[in-house]
Every structure is written in C-alpha cells, then in structure tokens.
C-alpha cells in the first residue's frame, strides 16, 4: 500500500462502526488482509508501507505476530458490537512488505487466529505473497500444512539487468525451483511481473513473459511500473540518471502480455490479472473490485465494511503502541454516501471482466457508452446486454473510460 495515507476524518479510538454497516452484510463476503511491514531491503521503486530493520524505531519484528493477533481479537469485538452477522472468512491474504520475512510459525499463528476467531469458509482462499529468495521447500510445505492454499511470488522479471534496476535481489534461476516446491506442497501459484522498467526492452519483457508462462502458474499479474513520488527511483529519474518509463512502450508491453498469455490459455479477469481458469482468479483481489467487506490488519492496512473505509496508523511503532494500549490502530476513516458508493462501483467494476451494470450509470453516462463503443474502448455486444466491458484498447485507457462514464 502507498506510504501516503488519504486525508479524511480521524478514526475513533474504539474503532466503533456506525449501524449503517449492517445493511446488506449478509450478501457480502468477508475477507481478512494481514499486512507484514518488513523487508530485508527496500527496492528503489517501492513506496509501500514497509521497513527494513534499521527503520523500525524499536518496534520488534518478533513481536509483530502477537500484535496482529491482538488486532484480530479487537476486530471481532468491533464487528460484534456493530451487530454484523457472523460470517466465516472467504479469503485471507498476507501482503507486505515481505510476509515470508517472518518465521513460518508466525504466519501460521496469525492464520490460526483468524480461523479460530471467525472460522474459514469451506474452500477459503488463503494466500501469501513471497519473495523467491526468502522461501525454501520446507517453508512452503509448512505454509500448506498451516492451511495456506496459494502463494504469490514476486518474480517481476526474468532479466537480471531489469531486476538490478528494480533493486530486486533474487536470482531469476530460482523461480522454477520455488514454483516446483510450492506445487509439490499443494499450493496454487501466482507470479507477479512488472513491465516498463527503465531500460527494459520489449524483448526483455517477452523473455520474462515466456519464462513465467513456462512455469505454468495458475495465475499471473502484470503491473506497469509506476514511479511513485518520494521513491529512490523517482529521485533517480529527476536527476536524469534513469530514463522515465515510456507509456507507449508500456502499452506495447501490455498488448504483448495479453497476446502471449491468451495464447498460453490464460484469460484476463481484471485489467492487470490473468488466470488459467475462472477458478484460479484471485478471489481476494476480486473482493476489492466488487466492494466486499474486509478487515485489514497491521500498520497502514486498509479496511472496508459496509460503506465505511478506514486505514491504520502507518508506522509499526505507532501501531504497536495503539495495540498495547488496547486502542484501535485506525488513523482515518470515511463513511461513503450513496453517490460516492455508486461512483466507486463504476470506478472499480469497470476494471473487471464481468463488468459494470449499465444501470449504475446516469443518463449522461449511458449516453457516453455509445461514444466509447464508437471509439473502440468498450465492447458493443456486451453493452447491448447491459454490461460495460472493456476492450483491449479500453483496458489500457480504463481511467479515461471511467471519467467518461462519470461525466457530470
């Protein structure tokens, strides 16, 4: 998650939720996100809320699992007091940072706390992100044994030069090994790729894609590199040491990714995500786009429950203090009104393949659909059936499409 938190109202120290969150809760899934804010080194492009050991101001990594578990207990109380129905957890996602920086026993304990607190739905999706050089066969087996069903490796690229620019430390040769170990342990596998890194050529990207596809993962994400303000990469670009990513080249790369992945039998289900079959789409990821409920545990984590969004204090030390004091770690929150919730649905659902119900649009928005079909940005057939579905070009211009759909 980004290091800058949105500006909104302060969150109450008891974390209490308004009564409005109950409305429609039974129709929404409930997921849990657990943030692990630790990395061995910070990569030059990264502006996520993560810390290396010397940035922690006394917050000890070994204490972290216990703090997260304490927030889970607090969450249960808050949801109960808001009179939300008991819902078993549909998806759990450990993200970071590098969750696998923690001993596997920590991850297992945190997952167990979630499971005992709310229960896991049968067939629940339980994922952790992993750095290819921070796991081995034993670690992966232990994850599976603890109840994890899925692992998402930060592969990023198969080209050493590109990995070096990204300041990723793993050896690309390790990818086949970790994928094999994960599969042997019974885990589904996803690979994360980044394209458009300064200096990366279209052939470099083709090599990365081919290498990734050769591992036959169940799921693939391809994210264009975004230069975030305040990162080392942004400073390097500002100083002219590194070239700015070229958006046209990124567009070519996206088109190449979709072509190669489609040829290999993967289908897009969200602008940046492809799966080998609809079953392998990330349900946790989809929950964000569909506006389901989830509780985000850990420093800087974001939550959404029934139209209330909030986010925790960012620094692990500040987080630890709140938890120790028995207070909600919430830093800010916003309660969305009906129109804002509609805007969010347009914004979020337009990005997924199952699309947006055209009935969500205003009269002007429905008129805009015709222009978008004419411009080749949304699929005409789907629109006639009442759904906004992006075309290939439309996916690359998704934000522009959303602005046109939300025309005032």
């Amino acid at each position: 998650m980004p290091s800058a938190l949105p500006i909104a109202d302060p969150a109450p120290l008891d974390g209490a939720l308004p009564a409005s969150v109950v409305s429609g809760a039974a129709e929404r899934n409930f997921g849990v996100y657990l943030h692990v804010p630790f990395c061995r080194v910070r990569c030059g492009y990264c502006d996520f809320n993560t810390y290396t050991s010397d940035e922690l101001r006394g917050a000890r990594r070994t204490d972290y699992a216990g703090q997260a578990i304490a927030e889970v207990a607090m969450a249960r109380g808050i949801l109960e007091r808001a009179a939300l129905p008991e819902r078993p957890v549909s998806t759990v996602f450990f993200g970071g940072g590098t969750p696998t920086m923690l001993p596997v026993t920590d991850l297992a304990e945190m997952l167990a706390a979630v499971a005992t607190t709310w229960g896991l739905e049968p067939g629940a999706e339980v994922t952790t992100e992993a750095n290819p050089d921070s796991v081995d066969a034993d670690y992966l087996s232990a994850l599976a044994a603890a109840g994890f069903t899925r692992v998402s490796f930060g592969m990023q690229s198969a080209v050493p030069r590109v990995l070096a620019t990204l300041e990723r430390t793993h050896d690309p040769e390790r990818i086949p090994l970790v994928v094999e170990w994960a599969r042997a342990a019974g885990l589904q596998v996803s690979l994360d790729l980044i394209y458009g890194t300064p200096g990366e050529t279209i052939d470099d990207w083709r090599a990365s894609l081919e290498h990734a596809i050769a591992q036959k993962p169940d799921h693939l994400s391809a994210y264009s590199l975004i230069v975030e303000v305040g990162t080392k990469l942004a400073r390097q670009i500002a100083r002219g040491e590194v070239a700015e990513p070229d958006e046209d080249l990124q567009a070519d790369m996206y088109e190449l990714a979709d072509a190669l992945l489609t040829e290999a039998g993967y289908e897009w289900y969200e602008v940046s995500n492809w799966a080998s079959s609809p079953d392998h789409a990330s349900r946790h990821n989809m929950a964000y786009w569909q506006g389901q409920d989830w509780w985000g545990v850990g420093p800087g984590a974001h939550s959404h429950v029934g139209g209330v969004r909030w986010w925790n204090v960012k620094h692990p030390a500040a987080y630890a203090e709140r938890i120790a004091a028995g207070q909600s770690p919430g830093a800010g929150r916003e309660e969305l009104d009906d129109e804002t919730r509609r805007i969010e649905r347009v914004l979020l659902r337009t990005r997924i393949r199952s699309g947006l119900d055209i009935a969500e649009l205003t009269t002007d928005g429905r008129l805009a659909v015709a222009g978008l079909i004419a411009d080749g940005l949304i699929d005409g057939r789907a629109a006639i059936h009442g759904v906004v579905e992006l075309t290939m070009r439309g996916r690359l211009l998704a934000d522009a499409v959303v602005r046109r759909l939300l025309v005032d």
Binding site: M1, P2, A4, P6, A8, Y33, H35, F48, G95, S221, Y223, S224, I226, E247, D248, Q250, A251, Y254, V271, S272, Y288, W289, W294, G296, G300, A301, H302, S303, H304, R309, W311, E334, T340, I343, E344, L347, L348, D375, L377, R393, R395, L396, L397, A398, D399, A400, V402, R403, L406, D408
Partner: protein, 639 residues
C-alpha cells in the same frame, strides 16, 4: 543655487525653516485666493520625464517644500493615486496641484500639472501640455534622455512651452551630470552650465528649481471679460463624487452653481463644485483666467467630459471652441477572456466601471471557440492594454487571458468591398484585392553598440530606416517607419532583450500602407482555433504557422485519438504537426485495497477535465491556450 551650497538647503526638504536670512521664506506666508488671482502671479507648468526618471519623487518634494503637504501626510509619490501607478512607478492619470510660493516678497500660485509619461497617451499628454506655459524637462543624470521624453519634449516645443532642463538623481553614484548636461544643452540650445542639477530624493536643488519656474515661465494670458472657455486636460472618475474634470481656464471665469456646457457635445451640467487641488480638492469661489482647477457636475461617465473639450458658460457661451480637441482613437485591439467562464458577468461589470474613468477604452462582446465569452477591447497602445488588464485583474479579482494584440486593417476584396478588420476573425474569405495596415514612425534611442542588433530586429519587422543621429557621444537615435502590427507583436520585448534593457522606443502613427498580408489559421483536428488566427505578412506566414503548430504540439496533452495540428492560409495548409493518440491511461493496481486513494485521484482528474476547453472533440487545457498565446514554451526552453 550652485551645487556647493545645496547641502545647506537640505533642511528645506525636511520642512524646517530656512535659516538663510537674505532669502524669503520658501513658503508663501499667505496663499493667493483662487478666482481672484492676477494671472501675472500664476505659473502653470508640467514635468516631462521618462518613466523611472523620478518625476513623482520630485513632485513629492515640491509639495513638501511648498508646504502643501505636511510631513505627516506625505506618502511617497503623493500624486499617483492608484496602486498600479505606485508599484510601476508610472503615472497614468494626470492631476494638477496648486502650490503657493514666494519670491522677492511676491506670492505666486504654481500649478503643477502631472502628465502621463507614456507614448500610448500622447493625446492626453498634448492636452496637459496645452494647459501649461512651461515645462520642466527632467532627465535621469545617470541614464540620459529616453525616446519617450524626446517625444514629449517635441510636443512641448510644438505647444511653445518654455523648457527648463533639469538633471535628476545627482545623488546617485552612477550619475554623469556633465555628460548629460551637454546632451540636453545640445538638444534644446543654451549653455550646459544652465542645466539645473537636482535630487528629488534628497531635495537638493529643488528650491532653486521653483525659483526658476517663477522667473522663466511666462504668466498665462487670457481675456478676463470674454465668455468663459476652459480646456479639459483630464477627467477622472471617483467612486464617491462621480467624474472630476480638471480644467485650465483660458478666458473668462466660471463660478459655483453656474450651468456649464461642453462645446463638443453641447451637453449641459450644473457645477456642483469648483475648486483647486491643494492637493486635496478644495472648493473655491470659482476659477479665473489662467487658473487650473477641477469641476464636479455629478456626471458619472468620463465620456461626457472629454479630454480636450472646451467648457463654457451656458448663459453666456463662447462661440469658438479651443483648438486641439480630438476623439480618442484606439490603435491596438485584443480579446480579453475570463479564465473561469463563469466570471464573464464580472468582467462585463468591471469594464463598465473602468470605462467611467478611462475614456479611451472601447469594447464589445466577443465569443471565441477556444476561450468562450469575452470582449474585444480597443486600446491606445500596448501599455494601455497592459494597464487595463492589470487593473481588471487587481481591482476586480479577475483572471484573464488576452489574445495576441491586433491593429486595424482595411481589407478590400476583389468585388471592391472594403472591410475594417480589428480581429483576424473578421478577415474576409475569398479573393482579396488589397490589405492596408497602419504604419508608425518609430524612434529608438540606444547606446551606439546596439545599433547593429536593433537594425536587424527592425528589418525583420519590415521597418525602413529613415535616418540615424547621434545624441551626445555614444547614444544614437534611429528613425524607422514600421507597420504598427509588427510593433504590437512582442517587438518591445525583443528590443529590450537585445539591448539589455537600454533601448527606449517611441512611435506615432503616420498613416497607412498597402501590404501583402494574409490570415493564418491554426486548426486542431480540422477546426480553426480562433484565438490563434493572426494577420501576418506573407513572408512570415510560414514561420508563424510552424511556431504555433510546434507550440501547440508541446502544450496539448495526448488524446484518445490522433490530433492533427495545421496552419492554413484559406484552404492551403502551410505547416503541420500531429499529436499521437494516448495509448495508456490506467493505474496498474489498487494498493492493498486503498480504494479511497484511487477515488480521490479520479476526482482530481475530473476536476482537471472541467478546466478543459473543447475544440471539436479535442480537450485543451486552458493553460495551453495561455501558454501558446504568451510564448511561454520557447521562453522555458531557453532557460
């Protein structure tokens, strides 16, 4: 007073009494009564000076030394009322102030008439000069005389004024009074030793200057018993009092509550108040021959009280008006548009208010595809345009875009119809028989080292050298005839930058000439962007087309489709660029469920879109229009 004993007089500048026994008090013991002052004891004069040569500071010092403004009321540059004037150090609207002064036991009334200093206001200057018998020619002792000063000096001599040459700022380390005194003496005749040296800042030499005003400037002459004739030399709108008309009485007298008539329009008004500025308005029993003062009639529009017009008595009117009156003629035109379209009514109201105090400002509503609703405004010149724009922005809180200034063209089509064009959009289509454009006589004054670069610039602007003369050892005056249209288009900026700011420019209209002029349109995706159309010489059309298409290519963001940018004369394309379609506009991911951030970004983007202007289907940021009109792109690249 020589320079050596000047220091002894510094005290006068700080308003303590002089201790020098043999001199009379610098202040008159009792001021002369207006309305009954013998013209023999009146002196009417003005100060001719370049913008920053210290005229206002000198005027301030005179007000202090004559005692009409106390130290406590003194604020720098008392006579310049508006903020803009004070900040820019220039006087836009002139005023008159009556100062008592005694020499050799006789009390005098000195009327100092403050003139606008800029070439744009030549007509106003000429009327101010016509109200005087003499002028102080004030020149910065470090910088020497400038082109605008020469122009005004010329007008003063043309009005038979007595000139008192004065070098100012002699306290400055860079002052070179010997050299500049020689230059002044060479210009107007006389001995360089007679050129007075003063410092408006310290007060040094100012008393001696007042003494010379009394000695050298002739007393006004008029017929006491003739029907009243007063010349309007300025007319100012005051929010509380309505129009304040400044007049110089030529013949007869005017009295309070008398009914007066403006001779050009025959409109009649009752005099609600008549008085003199001392310098605050002071009602009097009237004004007599040779006197300078103000009239208030309750009129709310300066157009009813026009500079140069003759005021007479309604009961006993004069039959012949004073010479020299003419209607203000706008020379430069530009479209003014509010950046926020919803400010259009505010702009209209602001112009309506400004015109009350600015008789030379003309305007009419205009619509632009690119810029929305605005006004086509006519100005006396570029400075007038700049001042009006700045006043609109400052006094009315408006954010404005001004289109490239244009002049008046007479376009004759093949079927012998003649169209007056002040806006490229009025340029007729079809076959053109001839186009006539205004030309000016331009005088450029600069150190001789810059002659080459100035000639190059003027030739590039279709100037014809008429002559060149040396003023002193190292300064040259170049005379050109040049199309006004070439001057209004950033000529002055180029002149200044080529000469490190040393050159000064003056110009005056001298007529019209036929020229090979064409209208160049700039098209975005086939649609003409009216704000960028320009009338240029055929030889410069291609360069203009390339300049604008390249600018726009840099300024207009990529769209979801390819956008051709073309420059065209009629149907003929003379330059072309294109903006390739934007291919990627999507954020790759949402960070750990931070939907709030994503939504806020969308809101920001939508806000940004609202500020876009549509040219056909092309979204153009307002800033792009502004930047393209102002040439910011090239300036940035140079840095």
């Amino acid at each position: 007073m020589g320079r050596t004993d000047a220091a002894a007089w510094e005290n006068c500048a700080t308003l303590t009494q002089s201790t020098t026994e043999e001199r009379v008090s610098p202040r008159a013991s009792k001021a002369l009564e207006p309305a009954s002052t013998d013209p023999a004891f009146i002196r009417n004069f003005c100060i001719i000076a370049h913008i920053d040569h210290g005229k206002s500071t000198l005027a301030d010092r005179m007000l202090q030394i004559t005692g009409v403004v106390s130290d406590r009321d003194m604020r720098a540059q008392y006579l310049d009322r508006m903020d803009i004037e004070r900040e820019r150090g220039i006087t836009i609207k002139s005023q008159a102030v009556r100062m008592p002064w005694a020499e050799d036991g006789q009390t005098y009334a000195l009327n100092m008439i403050d003139t606008p200093g800029h070439v744009d206001f030549t007509y106003e200057v000429s009327r101010s000069l016509a109200a005087c018998e003499g002028a102080i020619l004030l020149v910065d002792a470090a910088q020497g005389i400038e082109a605008q000063t020469l122009a005004n000096l010329y007008l003063a001599l043309d009005n038979d004024l007595t000139i008192i040459p004065v070098l100012n700022k002699i306290d400055l380390p860079a002052a070179d009074p010997d050299k500049n005194a020689k230059e002044l003496a060479g210009l107007i005749g006389g001995d360089p030793a007679d050129v007075l040296r003063v410092s408006g800042k310290t007060g040094d030499g100012v008393e001696e200057l007042l003494k010379r005003v009394v000695e050298l400037i002739p007393a006004p002459v008029g017929i006491k018993d003739a029907p009243a004739r007063a010349m309007i030399f300025d007319s100012v709108y005051d929010a509380y009092r309505g129009v304040i008309t400044y007049v110089r009485m030529i013949d007869g007298t005017l009295s309070p509550r008398e009914k007066v008539m403006m001779m050009s329009t025959k409109s009649t008004h009752e005099l609600l108040e008549i008085g003199v500025s001392a310098p605050e308005p002071t009602p009097t029993n009237g004004l007599g021959v040779g006197e300078v003062g103000y009239l208030i009639t309750g009129v709310k529009d300066v157009r009813l009280s026009k500079v140069g017009d003759t005021v007479t008595s309604f009961a006993k009117p004069a039959t012949v008006a004073l010479k020299g009156y003419s209607e203000p003629k706008p020379m430069v035109f530009s479209g003014l548009y509010p950046i926020d379209g919803s400010d259009y009514p505010v702009l209209r109201e602001a112009l309506d208010k400004l015109k009350l105090s600015d008789a030379a400002l003309v305007y009419e509503p205009e619509t632009s595809v690119a810029l929305g609703f605005g006004f086509r405004c006519g100005f006396l010149g570029l400075l007038h345009l700049e001042i009006v724009t700045e006043r609109l922005e400052r006094e009315f809180g408006l954010d404005l875009i001004a289109t490239a200034p244009s002049v008046i063209y007479q376009v004759t089509t093949d079927d012998k119809k003649t169209v007056t064009v002040t806006n490229p959009s009025e340029f007729p289509g079809g076959k053109i028989a001839s186009v006539s454009e205004p030309i000016v006589k331009a005088s450029i004054l600069a150190p001789k080292d810059y002659v080459g670069t100035i000639m190059e610039l003027c030739q590039g602007r279709r100037g014809t050298l008429q002559g060149m003369e040396y003023l002193g050892e190292d300064r040259v005056e170049l005379h050109y005839t040049m199309p006004l249209g070439e001057i209004v288009f950033d000529f002055f900026d180029h002149l200044k930058s080529r000469t490190q700011g040393y050159a000064s420019l003056d110009y005056e209209p001298i007529g019209d000439q036929d020229a090979d002029l064409v209208k160049v349109d700039i098209l975005l995706q086939g649609e003409a962007v009216d704000a960028f159309s320009a009338i240029v010489h055929k030889d410069n059309a291609y360069a203009y087309g390339v300049l604008m298409t390249e600018r726009l290519k840099k300024l207009i963001p990529r769209q979801q489709f390819e956008v051709p940018i073309q420059a065209a004369i009629g149907a003929r394309i003379i330059a072309r660029e294109s903006i390739s379609a934007m291919r990627k506009d999507v954020l790759a991911k949402c960070y750990g469920g931070d939907i709030t951030r994503k939504r806020k970004l969308l809101e920001k983007q939508k806000e940004g879109k609202k500020r876009m202007k549509m040219v056909g289907r092309v979204e153009v940021p307002q800033e792009a229009f502004i930047a393209a009109l102002s040439g910011e792109t090239e300036k940035k690249e140079k840095k």
